[in-house]
Symmetry: D3
Subunit: 284 residues, 6 copies
C-alpha cells in the first residue's frame, strides 16, 4: 500500500543527494525572454515526459540505472525580480560544487546559465565553456538591460575572458556580434564542425557545457521561443555529446525548451533524451 508521499523525479534520477555525484535541478525562469515566454514550464514537463524514454542509451551503451543522480526538483523564484532569481541559482549551484558534485541545470531561459557558470567558475578558474546555440548571445545589453538572455555569453566572457569560449551552431545575431566574436571567442557558424579539435585543445581542463536547445533545427525541436531554421540535427547533437564524453565536465545545463510551442510532445522527448545522453556522458 502506498502510504509515503508522491515523489516526482526525472526517470532514473531517483538516488539520494548524498550518494549522488550528479545533481540535477530546474530553474524555471523566463523573465527576460523578449519574444515568446514559456521556458518556465520546461523542467516540470520534462520530469513527466521522461517516462516515455528508456533508461538505456543505445548510442553510448550505458544505462541510467548504473549511474547515481539526484533530482532536487525546481528552485522557487520571486517573479519580476531578475537579480534575486540569479542569486538563488548562484547559491544553490555553489553548494553543489562545494559538496564536490556536478550541477546539471534545466532552464528556463538562457540567462539562468550565468549564475550557474559563475558558481562553477569560482572553483575552477581555468575553466572552458562549450556553448551550443542558434544565437550568438553576445550583445552588450538588450534594450538597456545587461542581464538578458541575449547577452548571457557576453556576461560570461566578462569573467572567463578571451580564448575560453567555444560556440557551435550559431546562425543568428547582429553583424557586430559576429565581428566581436572573431576577436574573443571561437565561433563556428551553422554546425559543430571543429568540435573534435576543441575537445583536443581543452584536454583535461575543467569545462562547462551549456546547450541552448534552439541550436537544434526546429524541424526536430520546435518547442522554443525563437525558432531558427537551419540548425543541427538530433544525430549531430548526440554525436557532439559523444565526442565530449571524455572531457572533465564540471557543470552543464540545457535551456530554452518552451514546451507549449510544440503540442506534439516531440520537443519534450528530444530534451529528455539529450539530458539522458548528457548525464550519461558526464558520469564516469
Amino acid at each position: 500500500m502506498k502510504t509515503s508521499k508522491n515523489v516526482s523525479t526525472f526517470m532514473g534520477f531517483d538516488n539520494e543527494y548524498e550518494e549522488s555525484s550528479i545533481i540535477v535541478f530546474g530553474s524555471p525562469f523566463d523573465g527576460t525572454t523578449s519574444f515568446r515566454p514559456g521556458t518556465r514550464f520546461a523542467p516540470n514537463i520534462m520530469r513527466n515526459e521522461s517516462y516515455g524514454l528508456e533508461t538505456y542509451s543505445p548510442y553510448l551503451d550505458k544505462d541510467l540505472e548504473c549511474v547515481n543522480v539526484f533530482d532536487a526538483g525546481d528552485l522557487e523564484f520571486p517573479f519580476g525580480n531578475t537579480e534575486k532569481v540569479l542569486n538563488l541559482i548562484y547559491e544553490f549551484a555553489s553548494e553543489i560544487v562545494r559538496d564536490d558534485k556536478t550541477p546539471v541545470m534545466i532552464g528556463g531561459e538562457h540567462l539562468v546559465s550565468l549564475p550557474a557558470i559563475n558558481a562553477v567558475y569560482e572553483k575552477y578558474n581555468h575553466m572552458y565553456l562549450i556553448h551550443f546555440d542558434a544565437h550568438t548571445d553576445l550583445r552588450e545589453d538588450y534594450m538597456g538591460e545587461k542581464l538578458s538572455h541575449a547577452s548571457v555569453i557576453k556576461r560570461v566572457w566578462d569573467f572567463l575572458g578571451d580564448n575560453k569560449i567555444y560556440q557551435f551552431g550559431i546562425r543568428s545575431g547582429e553583424k557586430t556580434e559576429f565581428e566581436w566574436a572573431k576577436e574573443h571567442t571561437n565561433l563556428t557558424k551553422f554546425s559543430c564542425d571543429g568540435l573534435a579539435e576543441a575537445v583536443k585543445e581543452i584536454g583535461n581542463s575543467p569545462v562547462y557545457i551549456t546547450i541552448d536547445l534552439d541550436v537544434l533545427d526546429p524541424s526536430i525541436f520546435s518547442g522554443t521561443g525563437t525558432p531558427e531554421p537551419g540548425g543541427i540535427t538530433f544525430k549531430e547533437m548526440v554525436e557532439a555529446i559523444n565526442l565530449m564524453k571524455d572531457l572533465n565536465i564540471v557543470g552543464a545545463d540545457i535551456v530554452e525548451l518552451s514546451p507549449q510551442y510544440d503540442t506534439s510532445g516531440v520537443s519534450n522527448a528530444v530534451a529528455c533524451k539529450i539530458l539522458r545522453e548528457l548525464v550519461l556522458a558526464i558520469s564516469k
Copy 2:
C-alpha cells in the same frame, strides 16, 4: 538547500498518511473508453494545475490548510487488462476504509468508481450513492462487455439494489435506460432539482458521492471524452456540494476529466476547484 526528493502532491494535501482522515489517490485508467480516451492523464495534471488555486474557499469559508489530507499519488496499472486494474483499485480502497479513513479517488474513466464503491460498500452495507453525470451509465453491457464506463452504475446497482441510487443532471442514454431507471433508481433529468430532498431522505446514513464531471455543461468543462451540451453550471455544482456537506460521506470520486481536449486549462481548474470543495465538504 534542497537535498530531499522532489515531492508532488495536490495543493494543500501535504499531510502524512497516518495523520490524515481523507486519502486522495489517482486511478489513471481509460481502458473501456469508447469514444475519445485520455482520462488517464487527469490526476497528474490536476496535481500540477492545483497550484493555480488558493487553499481558501470563499464558498464554504473553509481552508485546506486546516484539513488533514494525504495524497497517495497514482496507482500503477497494467494496460489492457481491465480486471486486474479494477482489483488493484478495490484493494487500495479497501485498505483505506479498513484504516477508518475516507477514500477520495480521482479518475480515470467512470468504470474506476465500481471497485472503489464496492470497497466502501463492504463496510457500509446500507450505503446510498449520489451520482452526478450527463449519462445514465445503466446499460447492461456495452458491445458485449459488462465492465464498461457505460454500465458502471448498473454494476453498482447489482449490489446496492433498488432505492439506494440518486442520479442528477442526466441527459443522455438509450430510451430503455431511462425507462429502467424509473423502476430502480431516482433519476433527475437535466438538473440537480430534488437534491435537497434526497439529502433529507438519506439523513445520517452513509453515502458515497460519484461525480462524473461531464455532468457540467461543456461550456465550462470541455475537457471530457463525450461532451454533452445542456449540463449544469459550475455554480450549481458548488451549490450541490454545499447542500451535501452535512451528509455522512464515506467515500467519493471525481472522474472523466480528459485534459487534452481542453487546451485552455479551464477544465483542469474546474476539476481542481470541485475537488477542493468536495474535500472541504467531507472534512468535519
Copy 3:
C-alpha cells in the same frame, strides 16, 4: 465478414433515399467567408462525431431509430466559383422538393442557404422564414459583392418580401441594417423572445428554418468564424426547436460550424445534437 464498401452517414440517418421523407446533405462551401474560413469541414466532421451521441432525445422523447432519414453525403463544388456552387445546391434541393421530401442542409457558410431556400420557395410561394443568427445578414452587398454571407437574408427578402422573415438572437450588424429591419423583417435582438407568437402567426403555413449556429453563445459554440458573445444558450436553442415542432416545416438548414476553431469537439457535439433535435422535430 465485411465485403461491402465502407458507408459513412450521420448516426441514425442510414435509410435509403426512396423510403425517406427527410433528406440530409452537406454543402461544404466557405468561399465568401470574410474573416476566418473553415465551414467547409463541417458536414464531414459532423458525420464522424455524431457517433458520440445517442439516437434518443430526452428533450423530445423521440428516437432517430423511428424516423426515416437519408444522408446523401456532400455535394462536390468547384472552388473559387461562387455562382456555380449556388447553382449546384439549387438543383439538388429542387430535386428533393420535387420528390416531395424535406431537404435539411448542413453548411458551409450562410450563403449556401440562399439557393436552398430559393428551391423550396419555388414550390411554397407563401412560405415563411425563421432565422436564428448573431448577425443581421441584411447588407445590400459586402465589398461590392451581392452574393455574400453578410447579405444572404437580404437576398432571400428579395423574393420573400416583407413580413415573411422572423429573425432571432441578432446582436451584430451595421446600424443601418438594424434600421432597415424595422420596416421589413421581424427582428428580435439578443434572444428568442417572441418565438411563441411567431409560431402562432405562421400557423399551418409552410416555413423554412435557417439556423446560423453562431446564434449560440460562444461559451458553448466557439467553433465558428465570427464568434459573438452574448448569444443564446443551448437550452434556449433546444426549447426553440421544441416550440417549432408542430409547424409545417418544408426545409431547414444549420450553417457556420467551423470545426477547427474549437479543438475540444464541443461545438461539433452541439451541432450534431441540434441537427438531431431539428430532424426529430421535422419528422411526424
Copy 4:
C-alpha cells in the same frame, strides 16, 4: 495605389491624437505573472481581431464611427526590469492626462494598472476606483515582491486609501485578504450586485475603471492565465458597463487577456467587444 505605410489600429480608433479625447494604448508586460504568462500578446492580437466586430453597439445604440479615439500602439519595454516598465507607463499616462485626454490602457498583466491609476490620481485626488476581478489582488507582497499582479490593488490602496475602492466579482484569494477587505474596500463576492448603488454613491466624482477580464466566467473567457470558474457572464459585464456610462470616467483599463490559452479566438472577441463598449461608455 497604396504608397503610404501600413497602419495598424483597433477597428474604429483611427483618428489623430490631437482630435481625440480618448487615447488607447497597449502595455504588453507580463513580468510578474506567477502561473501562466502571455498577456504581453494581448494588445496586438486585439488590434488584428477587432476587425471581426462591427463598430456599432446594439447594446448602447452608439457607433465608434461617431467617437474620436486614437490608438497609440504599444509601449516598448525592457524585459526583466519591472520598475523601468512601470515608470514608462506612468510617464505615458501622465502626458495623456496632462493633455486633458482620457487614457484607456490594454494590458498586459494587472500590475500595469498601478502606474496608470497613479498617473490619473495625480490629477484627480478624490478619485474612486471600480475594480472588476476574480481575485482580490490585495496581498501585501507575493513571494517577497511588493510589485506584483497579486498585490496591485493593495498598492493602489496605499495612495487612494479607505472607502475609495469598489471590488466586484471577487471569488479567489487568501482568507486574510477577504478579511482585510472588510475594513478597507467595498468588496462584493461572486457578482456585480451593488454596482448600481456604488454608481449612485460616486455621483460626479472622478472614477477610474479597471477590468481584469478574468472576472468573466472562463466559459466565455478562457484566455487568461488563472481561470476561475464561477464568474460573471458577458451580459452581466455589458450591463455593468451600461450602468457606469454616466459616471465621470477619467481613466480605464482592461487587463489579463492571454490569447494563446484560447485558441478559438472567443476570448479575443470578448475583449474587443468589452473594449468597444467601454470606449463608447466613456465617450460623451
Copy 5:
C-alpha cells in the same frame, strides 16, 4: 442526383471486394498503449486526409488507378477486452488470406499486428517478417501482460522462431532486449542499412512487412504516442519500400499513427503516402 449512400474509402481504393487482390482494413485499437493513446483514430482520419494526395507516385511511376484495392472500413471492437479484439482481427485477416488476397492493415497500436501476422503465417509457414520500428518490441511482458505493444515482436517470434525476423531503425529498448536480439533476430540499429541484403536473402519466400511509423524521425512524423528522435527520413522509408517491391509480399500493416499529436496534418499525409507506396509496391 445523389441518391445512393455516402461511401467513404481511402483515395483510389474504391474497387469491389471480389475484383480486388489487396484488401485494406482498419484496426482502431489502442488498449495496451502505455504512454499516450490515440492510434484508434488513425484509419478514419487517413481515409479523410488521403484526398490531399494524388493517386500517381512519381517515386514508383505507378498509379493507384491501375490497381485493384478494396477498403473494407474499420473492424468494430469491444473496448477493454484485448483478447476479443485480437480474435476479431485474426478472423478477418484469415478470411482475406483464405480468399487468396493480400491483407494490408492500418492500426491501431502495434499489438494489432500479432493476429494479422498469425493469420498470414497459418498459410505461409516459412514466412519472413520485415519490421520497421523505433522500438525493439521484444519484451517478454509489460507490467505482467504478455499481450502488449511492447512485446508484439517477441510474441511473433514465439511462432516464427529464429532467423526469420529482420528489424530496422531500432533505437529504443531495454539493454536486455538488444542483447536478446543478437541471438534471435536480425536487428539493425538507427537505420535501414542492410535491407538490400535482407531482400536478397529472402528471395522468393513469402514475407510480411510491418511498419511501425515511429521508425520515422519525429521531425517528419510527430503524430505518434512515443516519439523517438534519431529516426529515418521519409526519403529513406520510400527507398526502403522501393527496395522491397519485388519481394513476395503476402501481408503488410502500418501502425502507430496517433493523429491528435500532430495538429498540422503532416503525419497523416506521411502515413497516407507510405500506404500508397506500400500498396503500389505490393501490387503486381
Copy 6:
C-alpha cells in the same frame, strides 16, 4: 511620446515608397484552395513574427538595414470573386513595375502569382520563370475552373510559352502533368539539382522567382494546406537563393504559408527568413 499612428511593417522594410527599389505587398487570397484554406492569414502574421528575426543574414553577409524596401501592407479583396481579386493584384503590380521598382508579393495561395507574373511580363517579354514547388501546378483546369491554384503555372505558360519555365522540387501531380512537362517546361523532380545550370542559361535575362513554400519538406514547413513529405531542406532553399543572387530578378513572390496549421510558429519563422534572404538577394 507616441502621438503618431501605429505603423506595422515587416522588420526592416520601413522605408518610404519613393526611396525604395523593392516593394513588398500582401495578397491575402485563398479562394480556390481545394483542400485546407488559410493562406489569407500569411502576410499579416509574417509582419508580426518577423520581429523574432535579426536583420542581418549570416548566409549572405548582408543586412536589411542597408537595403531600401517599402512594405505596402495588404491589398483588400472582395471575397468570393476570383476575377476581381486577380485584377486588383495585376493593377497594383503593374504600377510598381511602371515606377521601375521590383514587386515582391506575399501570398495567399499560388493563384495570386498569375496576375503578378503577368504584370511583370508586360514589361519584360523575354522573361524567365523559376518555380519552386512540391506540385506541378500544370493542370488545364481543376473541377472545370481554369483559374485555380492547381493550374497557375499552366496559365503562366499560356503567355510565357515553351522553354521559359524552370521547375524545382516537384513531387506531386497527375501522371499527365509530369508527361506534359517533359515537352514544355524544365522540370526537376524532388530536388534543386540543375539550378546552377539554369542560372547560367538564363544569364542576364530578366527572371521572376515564384516560391511555393510547400517545396520545403513539411518537417521544417508544416504550415501549408497540402503538405508533401519528401521536400527540400531549409539549407537547400537558402543555397538556391544564394545561387540566384546575381540574376536579373524583376519580380518575386512567396506563397502558400498557411500559419494556422503550424501552431509552433516555425513555419512563420521559415517564411520570414526566406523572405529576408530573397529580398537581400534581389537588392544590389
